[in-house]
């Protein structure tokens, strides 16, 4: 997975794209490559795209993943107070893989992420349509309790948000509320293994009872990851987990994500193309509320088949 991307700068965070001219999507959309064109001609990508035959209406370029599918989203749309933020997204997320969601600000990638653990339920006036199936089970079904769902799908946020309690209490919180652990000694073991898996044990072993707020930003983010994995979820959602961290802390988190991939299905939203390229095996590119292109990360970055994907990953916009 380690390969160099064209741009190493991490600050390709898009600004103001969400406010772009709405006709832009029409102008830019629809430039889908004919199926016949061979994707092997990497050197001629630019030229090929220029000659691409426009087709009417936006169509998703998708190469299906190999391996078992953990989450299958079909025609997912999200509305905030009647305003549509996400348009008919259909995406397969494979298990034991890191899937990166990339795209400019306001493109709907975080919104899509939050549909997978129903965090959008907590926002007043938010409506989700379509079907999201986890292990062939519709998570929006009435019979599914969001509390149980969130025990199976953990989440890490943009800014580290540990509880203002001790390090120990932070990690023990999930197992405690879900009643997974009863004995104190067992809890000690769970906390220790979660902290070890999050690569934080060495640094905090001697001060488990001190405040989590005394940790550095990077340590806090690893603590939050430890908190999420302490309940042994099946999926971990990460919403720009490194955007508030310095490069060294970012590197540690990225290593951690790579290790966690063996046990969990991970979905990460990132603004950093380099990060997407470094940590993910699958990439989905979102633009203006629509899924534009999805496929293996290497293909997306070296061989994008959509004009907008190419423009975004080469820094033309976003």
């Amino acid at each position: 997975m380690k390969f160099r991307i064209f741009r190493s700068a991490e600050d390709q965070t898009g600004a103001g794209v969400g406010a772009a001219d709405p006709t832009e999507s029409v102008r830019m959309g629809g430039q889908v490559l004919p199926e016949a064109t061979s994707p092997k001609a990497a050197s001629a990508v630019e030229a090929r795209l220029e000659d691409a035959t426009p087709v009417s209406g936006p169509t998703v370029v998708a190469t299906p993943p190999t391996g078992p599918i953990k989450i299958a989203a079909r025609d997912v749309s999200v509305f905030y107070d009647g305003k549509q933020a996400l348009y008919d997204v259909s995406l397969d997320i494979p298990d034991k893989t890191v899937t990166a969601l990339i795209g400019p600000s306001g493109c709907g990638k975080s919104t899509f992420l939050r549909t997978m653990n129903r965090m959008n339920d907590t926002i007043a006036g938010c409506k989700v349509t379509g079907r999201i199936a986890m292990d062939d089970e519709d998570i929006n079904d009435r019979s599914i309790d969001p509390v149980l769902l969130r025990a199976r799908v953990g989440m890490v946020f943009q800014r580290p948000n540990p509880f203002p309690k001790s390090i120990y209490e932070n990690v023990a919180y999930g197992p405690k509320i879900h009643g997974l652990v009863s004995a104190k000694s067992e809890m000690d073991g769970v906390v220790e293994s979660a902290l070890k898996r999050a690569g934080l044990w060495e640094e905090v072993a001697d001060r488990l009872q001190s405040s989590a707020m005394g940790l550095s930003g990077g340590q806090q983010q690893r603590l939050v990851i430890a908190r999420a994995i302490a309940v042994n979820p099946e999926v971990i959602l990460m919403d720009e987990p490194c955007s508030a961290l310095d490069p060294i802390a970012t590197a540690r988190i990225e290593e951690l994500i790579d290790e966690l991939r063996e046990r969990f299905c991970i979905v990460i939203v990132t603004h950093s193309m380099a990060q997407a390229a470094r940590v993910s095996q699958r990439t989905a590119f979102f633009h203006m509320g629509r899924l534009v292109e999805t496929g293996d990360t290497e293909d997306i970055f070296q061989n994008p088949r959509e004009r907008r994907t190419l423009d975004y990953i080469t820094g033309r916009f976003g």
Binding site: A124, V147, L149, S211, V224
Partner: protein, 434 residues
């Protein structure tokens, strides 16, 4: 010129631009300095008003904290002491007559001199003597020294509040009485000491025996009722409105109403209390239960608003963190949001309690301005409250009540300071709890 790019600006233009910047800068600094001074002036004015208030109250009230006692030898004349009912004996007359006799002063037939002498002693003399006789009947026939308070007017004279320069017909004490007080003082039988009666007695018609304890206990009982009702209800309502309530027309109306209720004059709450608790529910008039209920109604809106703003100040990231961990809404609120909002909630609660403590207008309407002697000990008895006691004393005709009014104000202020200090201490403690 204005849209010239930096490299197009030549030397002169650059200098002109710099001058303009400098001139503007001077103006900006002047504005800043001026604003600082406005602030300082405002603070200074507030401090001066506070100082005037404090100095005024302390100057008027400090004399109430000490009082004068006279020690008189009283011969317990067996012919005049009623053994069966000591309170029935006229000890004051006995003491006054004996004092005149000791000084060799002849009383006239009407007893004018002994009446004047009697007026120098507090009527408490009777109870002190009667108590003694009731406890030890062997004192009858003996001469015992009795330490009794001077009457309020005599006390004021010794405190220098009554001047001999005032014409005799404009003061309560005659020249004769003043001369006797001077003589007593010369004989060294008058002593001054801390006015314990002020803190151990309830209200009394005799200023020298009147105290604030009854009102303090009344206020404390009332506040207890207020706290027990207003804090759980107010915090509960705020939590529901802020965290659980759907945002719709109904909750909007509730919110607007709560904000308006906070601005309703307190006397209106008094009227409501009168109509609701006394006339309709027939709860006992002037009792701490009714007072507490009325003050709770009054404190509720403020408490709800303070609690809601404390809840709003909790960062949403904490809610998200808890929800994403799979905590239910209730778990999120009660184990994360509310504990974090606790310092603000506590401060709001204590400030609204302190406000309730000082409230007078609603108490007037539920009958808490009546004279209540003694110290209450139940929530369904008529009681006094500190602010209404201040109101009653201020309207009393005896001059000695005026210094006691100021003293009662000092007691009330000390109460407030204690409550606010408690608020600060609790706040600190809760903030570094874990």
């Amino acid at each position: 010129m204005t849209d010239a790019t930096p490299d197009q600006i030549d030397g002169a233009a650059a200098k002109g631009r710099l001058d303009r910047l400098r001139a503007g800068l001077k103006r900006r600094h002047a504005k800043e300095t001026r604003f600082k001074w406005y602030g300082r002036l405002a603070i200074a004015a507030a401090m001066i008003f506070l100082a005037i208030l404090m100095v005024r109250i302390v100057a008027q009230g400090h004399t109430a904290f000490y009082t004068h006692t006279v020690t008189v030898p009283v011969y317990m004349d067996p012919a005049r002491v009623d053994r069966a009912y000591p309170q029935g004996s006229n000890f004051e007359q006995m003491a006054a007559e004996q004092q005149l006799k000791r000084w060799g002063i002849q009383d006239d037939a009407a007893g004018a001199a002994s009446r004047q002498m009697k007026a120098l002693f507090s009527s408490e003399l009777k109870f002190v003597a009667a108590d003694l006789v009731a406890k030890r009947s062997d004192v009858i026939g003996e001469t015992v020294p009795l330490a009794v308070p001077l009457s309020d007017e005599a006390d004021l004279y010794l405190k220098g509040e009554i001047s001999r320069d005032t014409p005799e017909d404009q003061r309560r004490l005659t020249d004769q009485q003043l001369a006797w007080l001077d003589r007593m003082q010369a004989e060294g039988v008058v002593g001054s000491h801390f006015n314990t009666a002020l803190f151990t007695n309830g209200d009394s018609t005799q200023p020298e025996m009147a105290g604030v304890l009854g009102a303090v206990v009344g206020s404390a009982l009332m506040l207890m009722v207020t706290a027990l009702i207003a804090i759980p209800l107010g915090v509960g309502a705020a939590v529901w409105l802020e965290e659980f309530a759907p945002k719709n027309k109904l909750t909007d109306i509730i919110e607007v109403n709560i904000n308006n209720l906070a601005a309703v004059p307190s006397i209106v709450y008094g009227l409501l209390g009168l109509a609701l608790f006394i006339n309709w529910m027939h709860l006992p008039r002037a009792s701490p239960i009714v007072g507490g209920l009325v003050l709770a109604l009054m404190a509720l809106p403020t408490l709800v608003i303070a609690t809601r703003s404390a809840l709003k100040a909790v960062p949403p990231s904490i809610r998200e963190a808890a929800l994403a961990m799979g905590a239910s809404k209730t778990q999120t609120v009660f184990s994360h949001v509310l504990p974090l909002a606790m310092p603000g909630v506590m401060t709001g609660a204590i400030i609204s309690m302190a406000h309730a403590l000082g409230e007078t207008a609603p108490l007037l309407l539920i009958g808490m301005v009546s004279f209540v002697p003694g110290v209450p000990h139940a929530i369904d008895q008529p009681v006094g409250a500190l602010p209404s006691l201040i109101y009653i004393w201020e309207n009393a005709s005896e001059r000695a009540f005026h210094e006691r009014t100021a003293a009662a104000i000092i007691v009330l202020l000390v109460f407030m300071i204690i409550m606010n200090t408690a608020a600060i201490i609790l706040r600190r403690r809760f903030e570094r709890r874990w």
